[in-house]
Symmetry: C2
Subunit: 197 residues, 2 copies
Protein backbone atom coordinates (compact mmCIF):
# COMPACT_ATOMS: atom_id res chain seq x y z
CA UNK A 1 0.00 0.00 0.00
CA UNK A 2 2.34 2.72 -1.20
CA UNK A 3 -0.48 5.13 -2.08
CA UNK A 4 -1.89 5.11 1.43
CA UNK A 5 1.44 5.74 3.11
CA UNK A 6 2.16 8.55 0.73
CA UNK A 7 -1.03 10.40 1.55
CA UNK A 8 -0.54 9.89 5.28
CA UNK A 9 2.90 11.46 5.10
CA UNK A 10 1.56 14.27 2.93
CA UNK A 11 -1.01 15.01 5.62
CA UNK A 12 1.66 15.12 8.30
CA UNK A 13 3.90 17.37 6.22
CA UNK A 14 1.07 19.75 5.40
CA UNK A 15 0.09 19.83 9.07
CA UNK A 16 3.67 20.63 10.07
CA UNK A 17 3.75 23.56 7.65
CA UNK A 18 0.45 24.94 8.89
CA UNK A 19 0.99 24.40 12.62
CA UNK A 20 4.46 25.96 12.41
CA UNK A 21 2.94 29.19 11.14
CA UNK A 22 -0.55 29.26 12.65
CA UNK A 23 -0.43 26.96 15.64
CA UNK A 24 -2.44 23.80 16.26
CA UNK A 25 -5.77 25.61 16.54
CA UNK A 26 -5.04 27.68 13.43
CA UNK A 27 -4.21 24.62 11.36
CA UNK A 28 -7.71 23.41 10.65
CA UNK A 29 -8.50 20.04 9.12
CA UNK A 30 -9.97 21.95 6.19
CA UNK A 31 -6.70 23.80 5.54
CA UNK A 32 -4.63 20.65 5.91
CA UNK A 33 -6.87 18.78 3.46
CA UNK A 34 -6.71 21.67 1.00
CA UNK A 35 -2.90 21.73 1.21
CA UNK A 36 -2.74 17.99 0.49
CA UNK A 37 -5.32 18.27 -2.27
CA UNK A 38 -8.05 16.08 -0.78
CA UNK A 39 -11.33 16.64 1.10
CA UNK A 40 -11.58 16.93 4.87
CA UNK A 41 -13.37 13.61 5.17
CA UNK A 42 -10.49 11.80 3.49
CA UNK A 43 -8.20 12.85 6.34
CA UNK A 44 -10.18 10.57 8.64
CA UNK A 45 -9.14 7.52 6.63
CA UNK A 46 -5.60 8.10 7.88
CA UNK A 47 -6.12 9.63 11.33
CA UNK A 48 -8.89 9.07 13.86
CA UNK A 49 -9.06 12.77 14.58
CA UNK A 50 -7.06 15.99 14.43
CA UNK A 51 -5.21 15.35 17.66
CA UNK A 52 -3.75 12.10 16.28
CA UNK A 53 -1.95 14.16 13.64
CA UNK A 54 -0.40 16.33 16.33
CA UNK A 55 0.68 13.25 18.29
CA UNK A 56 2.45 11.93 15.22
CA UNK A 57 4.24 15.26 14.82
CA UNK A 58 5.27 15.34 18.47
CA UNK A 59 7.09 12.04 18.07
CA UNK A 60 9.01 13.59 15.19
CA UNK A 61 10.03 16.55 17.35
CA UNK A 62 11.78 14.35 19.86
CA UNK A 63 13.88 12.18 17.61
CA UNK A 64 17.28 13.41 18.75
CA UNK A 65 19.84 13.27 15.98
CA UNK A 66 23.00 13.91 17.94
CA UNK A 67 25.19 10.85 18.24
CA UNK A 68 26.26 10.25 21.81
CA UNK A 69 28.10 7.01 21.11
CA UNK A 70 31.61 6.62 22.56
CA UNK A 71 30.84 9.53 24.82
CA UNK A 72 33.66 8.90 27.28
CA UNK A 73 36.24 8.56 24.56
CA UNK A 74 35.07 11.71 22.79
CA UNK A 75 34.86 13.63 26.06
CA UNK A 76 38.57 13.03 26.70
CA UNK A 77 39.30 15.21 23.70
CA UNK A 78 37.94 18.16 25.69
CA UNK A 79 37.05 21.23 23.70
CA UNK A 80 36.75 19.40 20.40
CA UNK A 81 33.91 17.35 21.88
CA UNK A 82 32.03 20.55 22.69
CA UNK A 83 32.81 21.95 19.27
CA UNK A 84 31.49 18.80 17.66
CA UNK A 85 28.27 19.03 19.65
CA UNK A 86 27.76 22.64 18.66
CA UNK A 87 28.36 21.90 14.99
CA UNK A 88 25.62 19.27 15.17
CA UNK A 89 23.37 21.67 17.06
CA UNK A 90 23.96 24.36 14.48
CA UNK A 91 23.16 22.01 11.62
CA UNK A 92 19.87 21.11 13.26
CA UNK A 93 19.06 24.78 13.79
CA UNK A 94 19.46 25.44 10.08
CA UNK A 95 17.62 22.35 8.89
CA UNK A 96 14.31 23.42 7.35
CA UNK A 97 12.17 20.59 8.69
CA UNK A 98 13.78 20.68 12.14
CA UNK A 99 13.20 24.40 12.28
CA UNK A 100 9.50 23.96 11.63
CA UNK A 101 9.33 21.33 14.35
CA UNK A 102 11.15 23.68 16.68
CA UNK A 103 8.57 26.38 16.04
CA UNK A 104 5.75 23.95 16.76
CA UNK A 105 7.52 23.01 19.97
CA UNK A 106 7.74 26.63 21.06
CA UNK A 107 4.15 27.47 20.10
CA UNK A 108 2.53 24.49 21.76
CA UNK A 109 4.87 24.10 24.75
CA UNK A 110 2.64 26.14 27.01
CA UNK A 111 -0.60 24.67 25.73
CA UNK A 112 0.15 20.95 25.49
CA UNK A 113 1.10 19.01 28.59
CA UNK A 114 2.44 16.01 26.67
CA UNK A 115 4.79 18.25 24.77
CA UNK A 116 5.86 19.98 27.97
CA UNK A 117 6.55 16.68 29.67
CA UNK A 118 8.60 15.45 26.73
CA UNK A 119 10.49 18.71 26.51
CA UNK A 120 11.55 18.53 30.14
CA UNK A 121 12.57 14.89 29.97
CA UNK A 122 13.75 14.37 26.39
CA UNK A 123 14.78 17.62 24.81
CA UNK A 124 16.15 19.24 27.90
CA UNK A 125 17.39 16.53 30.25
CA UNK A 126 18.82 14.20 27.65
CA UNK A 127 21.23 16.75 26.27
CA UNK A 128 22.04 18.10 29.72
CA UNK A 129 22.65 14.57 30.96
CA UNK A 130 25.04 13.66 28.19
CA UNK A 131 26.92 16.93 28.27
CA UNK A 132 27.28 16.75 32.04
CA UNK A 133 28.69 13.23 31.74
CA UNK A 134 31.22 14.48 29.25
CA UNK A 135 32.14 17.40 31.50
CA UNK A 136 32.60 14.99 34.39
CA UNK A 137 35.07 12.98 32.33
CA UNK A 138 36.92 16.17 31.47
CA UNK A 139 37.16 17.02 35.16
CA UNK A 140 38.64 13.63 35.93
CA UNK A 141 41.13 14.08 33.13
CA UNK A 142 42.13 17.42 34.60
CA UNK A 143 41.11 19.29 31.47
CA UNK A 144 38.64 21.60 33.17
CA UNK A 145 38.10 22.99 36.63
CA UNK A 146 35.79 21.04 38.89
CA UNK A 147 32.25 22.02 39.75
CA UNK A 148 28.70 20.76 39.42
CA UNK A 149 28.71 19.15 35.95
CA UNK A 150 24.93 19.42 35.57
CA UNK A 151 24.94 23.12 36.30
CA UNK A 152 27.83 23.57 33.90
CA UNK A 153 25.99 21.64 31.21
CA UNK A 154 23.05 24.01 31.57
CA UNK A 155 25.37 26.97 31.27
CA UNK A 156 26.67 25.40 28.08
CA UNK A 157 23.32 24.53 26.53
CA UNK A 158 21.15 27.52 27.40
CA UNK A 159 22.95 30.03 25.17
CA UNK A 160 22.70 27.54 22.31
CA UNK A 161 18.98 27.32 22.85
CA UNK A 162 18.66 31.08 22.93
CA UNK A 163 20.65 31.49 19.73
CA UNK A 164 18.43 28.90 18.08
CA UNK A 165 15.32 30.74 19.22
CA UNK A 166 16.70 34.04 18.01
CA UNK A 167 17.66 32.51 14.69
CA UNK A 168 14.25 30.96 14.23
CA UNK A 169 12.50 34.28 14.90
CA UNK A 170 14.64 36.09 12.37
CA UNK A 171 14.06 33.47 9.72
CA UNK A 172 10.26 33.72 9.92
CA UNK A 173 10.39 37.27 8.65
CA UNK A 174 13.22 36.42 6.25
CA UNK A 175 15.70 38.64 8.07
CA UNK A 176 19.46 38.30 7.89
CA UNK A 177 20.90 35.69 10.23
CA UNK A 178 24.59 35.90 9.40
CA UNK A 179 25.66 37.88 12.49
CA UNK A 180 23.82 35.42 14.73
CA UNK A 181 25.08 32.28 13.08
CA UNK A 182 28.69 32.78 14.16
CA UNK A 183 27.61 33.00 17.78
CA UNK A 184 27.51 29.24 18.04
CA UNK A 185 31.26 28.97 17.61
CA UNK A 186 31.94 32.05 19.70
CA UNK A 187 30.00 30.46 22.51
CA UNK A 188 32.16 27.34 22.52
CA UNK A 189 35.28 29.48 22.76
CA UNK A 190 33.82 31.64 25.51
CA UNK A 191 32.57 28.66 27.48
CA UNK A 192 35.78 26.71 27.12
CA UNK A 193 37.85 29.67 28.26
CA UNK A 194 35.73 29.93 31.38
CA UNK A 195 36.14 26.28 32.42
CA UNK A 196 39.50 25.22 31.03
CA UNK A 197 42.46 24.73 33.34
Amino acid sequence: MPKQKNTKQKIVDAAIDLIATQGYKGASVRKIAAAVGIRESAIYNHFRNKEEILKKIITEIFTTPFDFKNLEEKARRGKSFLREFVVAYKLISFDKKKEKLFRILMIELFQNETLRESFLTEFHHKDIQQISKALFVMMQEGLIRSGDPIFMAQEFISPLFYIRLHLSLLRIDAKATTPISSQFEKHVDFFWESIAL
Copy 2:
Protein backbone atom coordinates in the same frame (compact mmCIF):
# COMPACT_ATOMS: atom_id res chain seq x y z
CA MET B 1 -16.17 57.00 34.69
CA PRO B 2 -14.90 54.51 37.25
CA LYS B 3 -17.31 51.74 36.26
CA GLN B 4 -16.22 51.79 32.64
CA LYS B 5 -12.53 51.69 33.43
CA ASN B 6 -13.08 48.91 35.88
CA THR B 7 -14.81 46.70 33.35
CA LYS B 8 -12.19 47.44 30.71
CA GLN B 9 -9.41 46.34 33.06
CA LYS B 10 -11.43 43.28 34.06
CA ILE B 11 -11.66 42.31 30.41
CA VAL B 12 -7.91 42.68 29.96
CA ASP B 13 -7.18 40.66 33.10
CA ALA B 14 -9.57 37.90 32.09
CA ALA B 15 -8.05 37.85 28.62
CA ILE B 16 -4.56 37.57 30.09
CA ASP B 17 -5.62 34.58 32.17
CA LEU B 18 -7.22 32.84 29.24
CA ILE B 19 -4.57 33.58 26.61
CA ALA B 20 -1.81 32.50 29.00
CA THR B 21 -3.36 29.03 29.21
CA GLN B 22 -5.12 28.57 25.87
CA GLY B 23 -3.45 31.01 23.49
CA TYR B 24 -5.04 33.89 21.60
CA LYS B 25 -7.20 31.67 19.42
CA GLY B 26 -8.30 29.59 22.39
CA ALA B 27 -9.34 32.63 24.38
CA SER B 28 -12.64 33.36 22.68
CA VAL B 29 -14.64 36.52 23.26
CA ARG B 30 -17.33 34.27 24.75
CA LYS B 31 -14.97 32.87 27.38
CA ILE B 32 -13.55 36.28 28.21
CA ALA B 33 -17.04 37.70 28.64
CA ALA B 34 -18.08 34.78 30.82
CA ALA B 35 -15.00 35.23 33.01
CA VAL B 36 -15.82 38.91 33.49
CA GLY B 37 -19.48 38.17 34.06
CA ILE B 38 -20.95 40.00 31.09
CA ARG B 39 -22.22 39.11 27.60
CA GLU B 40 -20.03 38.99 24.49
CA SER B 41 -21.67 42.03 23.00
CA ALA B 42 -20.76 44.14 26.03
CA ILE B 43 -17.08 43.53 25.27
CA TYR B 44 -17.49 45.63 22.14
CA ASN B 45 -18.34 48.69 24.21
CA HIS B 46 -14.74 48.65 25.45
CA PHE B 47 -12.79 47.24 22.51
CA ARG B 48 -13.41 47.52 18.80
CA ASN B 49 -12.63 43.87 18.28
CA LYS B 50 -10.75 40.94 19.79
CA GLU B 51 -7.42 41.98 18.38
CA GLU B 52 -7.55 45.32 20.21
CA ILE B 53 -7.54 43.39 23.49
CA LEU B 54 -4.38 41.57 22.44
CA LYS B 55 -2.74 44.84 21.42
CA LYS B 56 -3.43 46.26 24.87
CA ILE B 57 -1.87 43.17 26.45
CA ILE B 58 1.20 43.38 24.23
CA THR B 59 1.93 46.89 25.52
CA GLU B 60 1.84 45.47 29.04
CA ILE B 61 4.34 42.77 28.12
CA PHE B 62 6.97 45.29 27.13
CA THR B 63 6.92 47.63 30.09
CA THR B 64 10.42 46.89 31.35
CA PRO B 65 10.67 47.28 35.10
CA PHE B 66 14.42 47.12 35.56
CA ASP B 67 15.91 50.44 36.55
CA PHE B 68 18.88 51.35 34.38
CA LYS B 69 19.46 54.77 35.94
CA ASN B 70 23.02 55.68 36.95
CA LEU B 71 24.19 52.78 34.84
CA GLU B 72 27.82 53.89 34.64
CA GLU B 73 28.10 54.43 38.34
CA LYS B 74 26.50 51.09 39.16
CA ALA B 75 28.60 49.30 36.56
CA ARG B 76 31.77 50.39 38.31
CA ARG B 77 30.78 48.21 41.22
CA GLY B 78 31.34 45.20 38.96
CA LYS B 79 29.82 41.94 40.11
CA SER B 80 27.29 43.56 42.42
CA PHE B 81 25.74 45.28 39.40
CA LEU B 82 25.20 41.92 37.75
CA ARG B 83 23.87 40.48 40.98
CA GLU B 84 21.42 43.34 41.28
CA PHE B 85 20.22 42.80 37.73
CA VAL B 86 19.67 39.11 38.34
CA VAL B 87 17.75 39.75 41.56
CA ALA B 88 15.41 42.01 39.61
CA TYR B 89 15.16 39.44 36.83
CA LYS B 90 14.36 36.72 39.34
CA LEU B 91 11.66 38.82 40.99
CA ILE B 92 10.01 39.36 37.62
CA SER B 93 10.21 35.65 36.88
CA PHE B 94 8.30 34.87 40.06
CA ASP B 95 5.73 37.62 39.73
CA LYS B 96 2.35 36.07 38.92
CA LYS B 97 1.17 38.65 36.42
CA LYS B 98 4.56 38.94 34.71
CA GLU B 99 4.67 35.17 34.44
CA LYS B 100 1.34 35.09 32.62
CA LEU B 101 2.56 37.80 30.27
CA PHE B 102 5.73 35.80 29.66
CA ARG B 103 3.66 32.76 28.70
CA ILE B 104 1.63 34.85 26.29
CA LEU B 105 4.86 36.14 24.81
CA MET B 106 6.18 32.62 24.27
CA ILE B 107 2.92 31.29 22.83
CA GLU B 108 2.32 34.10 20.39
CA LEU B 109 5.92 34.94 19.50
CA PHE B 110 5.86 32.73 16.43
CA GLN B 111 2.36 33.70 15.38
CA ASN B 112 2.31 37.47 15.84
CA GLU B 113 4.71 39.66 13.90
CA THR B 114 4.17 42.74 16.09
CA LEU B 115 5.10 40.73 19.14
CA ARG B 116 8.13 39.30 17.38
CA GLU B 117 9.29 42.74 16.32
CA SER B 118 8.90 44.09 19.84
CA PHE B 119 10.67 41.09 21.32
CA LEU B 120 13.70 41.58 19.12
CA THR B 121 13.91 45.33 19.73
CA GLU B 122 12.53 45.84 23.25
CA PHE B 123 12.78 42.68 25.26
CA HIS B 124 15.97 41.39 23.76
CA HIS B 125 18.01 44.35 22.58
CA LYS B 126 17.21 46.74 25.40
CA ASP B 127 18.56 44.44 28.08
CA ILE B 128 21.50 43.38 25.93
CA GLN B 129 22.29 47.01 25.15
CA GLN B 130 22.32 48.09 28.78
CA ILE B 131 24.24 45.10 30.03
CA SER B 132 26.82 45.50 27.30
CA LYS B 133 27.29 49.15 28.23
CA ALA B 134 27.86 48.13 31.82
CA LEU B 135 30.34 45.47 30.76
CA PHE B 136 32.17 48.03 28.64
CA VAL B 137 32.55 50.25 31.70
CA MET B 138 33.88 47.29 33.66
CA MET B 139 36.45 46.65 30.95
CA GLN B 140 37.63 50.26 31.11
CA GLU B 141 37.87 49.98 34.88
CA GLY B 142 40.00 46.89 34.49
CA LEU B 143 37.52 44.76 36.41
CA ILE B 144 36.96 42.22 33.67
CA ARG B 145 38.85 40.94 30.68
CA SER B 146 38.22 42.67 27.39
CA GLY B 147 36.15 41.28 24.56
CA ASP B 148 33.02 42.03 22.58
CA PRO B 149 30.65 43.47 25.22
CA ILE B 150 27.53 42.71 23.19
CA PHE B 151 28.48 39.07 22.79
CA MET B 152 29.30 38.89 26.49
CA ALA B 153 25.95 40.44 27.37
CA GLN B 154 24.21 37.73 25.36
CA GLU B 155 26.19 35.08 27.18
CA PHE B 156 25.03 36.66 30.41
CA ILE B 157 21.36 37.01 29.51
CA SER B 158 20.60 33.83 27.62
CA PRO B 159 20.95 31.46 30.59
CA LEU B 160 18.67 33.77 32.58
CA PHE B 161 16.09 33.50 29.84
CA TYR B 162 16.38 29.74 29.75
CA ILE B 163 15.98 29.46 33.51
CA ARG B 164 12.91 31.66 33.31
CA LEU B 165 11.44 29.49 30.58
CA HIS B 166 12.19 26.33 32.53
CA LEU B 167 10.67 27.84 35.68
CA SER B 168 7.56 28.89 33.83
CA LEU B 169 7.06 25.42 32.39
CA LEU B 170 7.39 23.77 35.78
CA ARG B 171 4.93 26.18 37.38
CA ILE B 172 2.16 25.45 34.88
CA ASP B 173 1.95 21.89 36.12
CA ALA B 174 2.54 23.01 39.72
CA LYS B 175 5.88 21.21 39.90
CA ALA B 176 8.64 22.04 42.36
CA THR B 177 10.86 24.92 41.29
CA THR B 178 13.23 25.15 44.24
CA PRO B 179 16.23 23.46 42.59
CA ILE B 180 15.87 25.76 39.57
CA SER B 181 15.41 28.98 41.50
CA SER B 182 18.95 28.98 42.93
CA GLN B 183 20.37 28.78 39.42
CA PHE B 184 19.96 32.51 38.99
CA GLU B 185 22.56 33.26 41.63
CA LYS B 186 24.79 30.38 40.55
CA HIS B 187 24.81 31.82 37.08
CA VAL B 188 26.10 35.21 38.26
CA ASP B 189 28.94 33.50 40.11
CA PHE B 190 29.80 31.31 37.15
CA PHE B 191 29.65 34.17 34.69
CA TRP B 192 31.66 36.50 36.89
CA GLU B 193 34.33 33.90 37.39
CA SER B 194 34.67 33.51 33.65
CA ILE B 195 35.14 37.21 32.93
CA ALA B 196 36.78 38.65 36.07
CA LEU B 197 40.42 39.62 36.06
